[in-house]
């Protein structure tokens, strides 16, 4: 055909087709999204430290392993209270003259999603220890260590933030101190929280529910055979990073549950309250997040966690039923929030 024998026409046509498609599947949707998008009313802009922390997050390529998107599918429920929506990303703008926008949604989840890490793990102490070497708090972690964000000092000054790590990690006589970069990075991580939707509903046209829910089989045999939620798995998901698989916690950072007065107490009220609402009353330990509330744990899930803690590592307290926990939870809800 003559058309194909003319290089201008041939390559012109190919370019035109490609360009038209590009406009329709990339440029128009992208510009449209930019125009019709704004942060949610409750959105908190990043603090100055968090902005610098985000730059460090980008510079060190953390996005290679950590996503920041809660997909609208049931399996992503563990990463946030609701699916991410476009306004969650609206505040991301071009970084500077040299660098592009960083929405940091990611494509790979070698490590956990970080959309709401600030809610899930609000303890500055934990995050610092974890950054210095993740294997101190999570033995099996394969995350890189970031020792260059810390320094060892003989005599730290008053303003220095001291990070307590096991002795073998610090050369003799020194004290590990967080550099300002480590604090900035942690400030960024702690700022990662999901903004509540106004009135709990997403803007028009956005999927707000989790799809592909797990099918619960209704058959009577199934339910009687079902032993209920797995306490040790829930413990691994929600508690283990701080309190450790051994229940011994970490000296100077996270309290032991093994032999803890609160855990083995016959009256489970205080323990339950801490699990649901979190705890930050003792200075020597890191902040405990409101696990129950954040993860929207159900009474029998909480009961399973509590029973696991009350009967493991030599602890020997009575087991609680889901009903008992449910009743206590109602009572706790009446209390003023601390």
């Amino acid at each position: 055909m003559d058309f194909f024998d003319n290089h201008t026409k041939l390559f012109g046509a190919a370019f035109l087709l490609f360009l038209v498609l590009t406009v329709f599947v990339a440029l128009v949707p992208a510009i449209n999204n930019e125009k019709n998008n704004a942060p949610l009313p409750g959105f908190q802009p990043l603090s100055d430290d968090a902005v610098k922390g985000k730059a460090l997050f980008v510079a060190n390529g953390c996005v290679a392993c950590h996503t920041q998107q809660v997909r609208n599918v049931d399996m992503d429920k563990m990463w946030g209270q609701r699916p991410s929506v476009a306004p969650d990303y609206a505040a991301n703008e071009r970084t500077d003259l040299w660098r592009n926008t960083a929405t940091l949604m990611g494509t790979e989840r070698t490590g956990p999603d970080l959309t709401s890490i600030g809610t899930r793990q609000p303890s500055k102490e934990w995050n610092l220890v974890h950054l210095f070497n993740p294997r101190i708090v999570v033995k099996e972690s394969i995350m890189p260590a970031y020792p260059w964000l810390f320094e060892v000092k003989k005599e730290p000054s008053q303003e220095d933030v001291i990070v307590t790590v096991p002795e073998r990690y610090v050369k003799e006589g020194g004290i590990l101190v967080a550099k300002k970069e480590a604090l900035q990075l942690v400030a960024y991580l702690l700022s990662l929280k999901q903004t509540e939707l106004p009135g709990g509903a997403p803007p028009n046209g956005m999927v707000s529910t989790f799809l592909y829910k797990k099918e619960t089989k209704e058959g009577s045999e199934e339910t009687s055979a079902n032993p209920g939620p797995d306490g040790s798995a829930l413990y691994a998901t929600h508690c283990q990073a701080c309190h450790q698989p051994t229940g011994e916690g970490l000296k100077g950072a996270f309290p032991a549950l093994k032999g803890s007065e609160i855990v083995v107490n016959d009256n489970p009220e205080l323990m339950l309250n801490i699990i649901i609402n979190g705890y930050d009353a003792r200075e020597e330990f890191g902040v405990m997040p409101a696990i129950g509330k954040n993860a929207e744990l159900k009474p029998d899930e909480i009961a399973a966690i509590m029973n696991h803690e009350r009967t493991s590592w030599g602890n020997n307290a009575r087991k609680l039923s889901g009903q008992e926990v449910s009743k206590l939870m109602d009572a706790i809800k009446q209390l003023p929030n601390q």
């Binding site: 194909f4 024998d5 990339a26 510079a59 390529g61 990303y89 926008t101 929405t103 494509t107 260059w148």
Partner: protein, 495 residues
């Protein structure tokens, strides 16, 4: 023979006798066909392209190998410049823009003038482009290791001042190639040149779209990212490489391509469907649902160009299968074709919503990208390189090390990808069941070890490839008998 005089031995019949005939350890393959010499200026340029590409291959996969080891031994070093998050893009960008792009362009500089039956418009432009692209990869590597990157979007981690020379290099190459084609002495434009020139046009387009700041805020960045990363793979690497195959495969089989029309169908279908599929990397994200659906439909549509292309290549083999065992280039082509079919269809399979539940965010993606970028692109490029270099230099690589290269690369790739696909499928199931995340990390450990083992074999194969390159360029031990004979005759006549 019994006299005292030293016998005259002009032909080396006495002095050059091999006393130890080597045992035939492996089957001897046919030597490359002797072809008319090509312009030495152009030959030098192409050698440099492929030489630089080889350097970036060895460098980039050394980094990749090291990054793979970090999954098994995360505390292997504590240097910020060598941390995982910084080295990973060093690896991907070096093998993309350094190795594959330069190797493609090198082969392109051979194919484009050849099928136009004319001279390359300008070797000078070729040299400029080569230098510019090397500048990009070199400075980009340093920047990434120093922690300077563009914001984390895959394959556009280089900041714009770093990527700019690359883009200029592509523009120069486009001009050079189009001018060459304009000077062609054939009436039609051979299909290779459709693919090659189109891929350069698209490569420039996506780079411009990806780096211009006007549509990059909020989710716009993600939409452009999906578009860019996938067009980079499909419209730049895949299209260009197909163009190379359309020239070298028929030439190595010594028969015409099975169907010109299938090639044309695949060309237009690839543009139509491939351009739309970027968002399939963000299924279930907050990008508009309709755009996700378009991407999924486009991914399914990719079956058309893939089946058309594969059919075309396989049918070209028809009646010439017997040539495969005799050739050291055809096994590379054949492997590339097998992965072109399976790898591309795997991409389609991954795009659906149901499969996304299982595989998205796991290492299945990593396995897929290696099956395609390595199984398809690298094998095709090696095939082309082993076909063209003996023509440029008259030197052939030692056949045994070509065989070692082939088998190490192939077995390494399978060791790398199969355990990774199996493990990450089960990991996806663990996530769907709501198992603790750290359990899924512990579970992956043996599969990551397999990846490191497979990666080591692949890396080793590249050392053999580099060794073969050396033999095809530098070694001058092998004497071209015809050339020497002609020289001798010329000399005799002059005497």
């Amino acid at each position: 023979m019994s006299g005292l005089l030293v016998p005259k031995d002009e032909r080396g019949l006495i002095t050059h006798v091999a006393h130890h005939a080597a045992l035939p350890f492996v089957a001897r393959k046919k030597s490359a066909q002797v072809r008319p010499k090509i312009d030495p200026e152009l030959a030098r340029l192409i050698l440099w392209y492929i030489g630089c590409a080889t350097f970036w291959l060895v460098f980039g996969t050394t980094v990749g190998e090291y990054v793979g080891i970090k999954f098994v031994a995360p505390d292997v070093d504590e240097v910020s410049w060598l941390s995982f998050g910084r080295l990973r893009p060093v690896h991907t960008n070096a093998v993309f823009w350094g190795w594959a792009s330069l190797a493609m362009l090198g082969l392109g500089h051979y194919v484009v003038p050849r099928v136009s039956n004319t001279q390359l418009f300008s070797t000078k432009l070729g040299w400029y482009a080569l230098v510019l692209i090397n500048v990009t990869v070199f400075s980009g590597t340093l920047c990434l290791m120093a922690g300077i990157n563009n914001g984390g979007g895959e394959y556009r981690e280089y900041i714009w001042p770093v990527m700019l020379p690359f883009a200029i290099g592509l523009v120069l190459t486009l001009y050079n190639f189009v001018k060459t084609i304009a000077n062609r002495t054939t009436k039609e434009i051979y299909i290779s040149n459709w693919y090659i020139v189109a891929s350069i046009i698209f490569g420039i387009t996506i780079t411009v779209v990806a780096y211009l700041p006007f549509w990059q805020n909020g989710l716009g960045e993600t939409i452009i990212q999906g578009y860019y990363m996938h067009q980079g793979v499909g419209m730049w690497f895949m299209l260009f490489t197909l163009g190379i195959v359309y020239y070298f495969l028929p030439q190595q089989l010594n028969k015409p391509i099975y169907s010109y029309s299938l090639g044309i169908l695949a060309f237009w279908a690839q543009i139509l469907f491939y351009t739309t599929i970027g968002t399939h990397h963000f299924v279930f994200s907050s990008i508009a649902w309709w755009l996700q659906t378009v991407a999924i439909v486009g991914s399914a549509g990719m079956i058309i160009p893939v089946v058309a292309g594969t059919t075309n290549f396989v049918m070209t083999f028809k009646g010439a299968w017997f040539k495969v065992p005799d050739s050291y280039t055809l096994p590379f082509f054949l492997t590339g074709i097998v992965f072109y079919f399976t790898g591309s269809l795997q991409g389609t399979a991954e795009a659906f919503r149901s499969t996304n539940l299982l595989w998205h965010f796991t290492d299945f993606t990593v396995a897929h990208s290696h099956l395609t970028m390595y199984g398809i692109i690298c094998f095709f490029l090696w095939a082309g390189i082993y076909a063209v270099l003996p023509r440029l230099t008259g030197l052939e690589p030692p056949q045994i090390t070509v065989g070692v290269h082939f088998w190490l690369a192939l077995i390494g790739l399978l060791f790398y990808t199969i355990p990774l696909m199996y493990g990450s499928t089960l990991r996806g199931l663990m996530w769907m069941e709501g198992k603790p995340f750290i359990d899924s990390v512990i579970f992956m450990a043996p599969f990551w070890l397999w990846r490191a083992i497979g990666g080591s074999l692949m890396w080793l194969s590249h050392l053999f490839f580099a060794y073969n390159m050396y033999h095809m360029i530098v070694s001058s031990v092998v004497i071209d008998i015809r050339e020497t004979a002609f020289e001798a005759i010329v000399q005799e006549n002059n005497d």
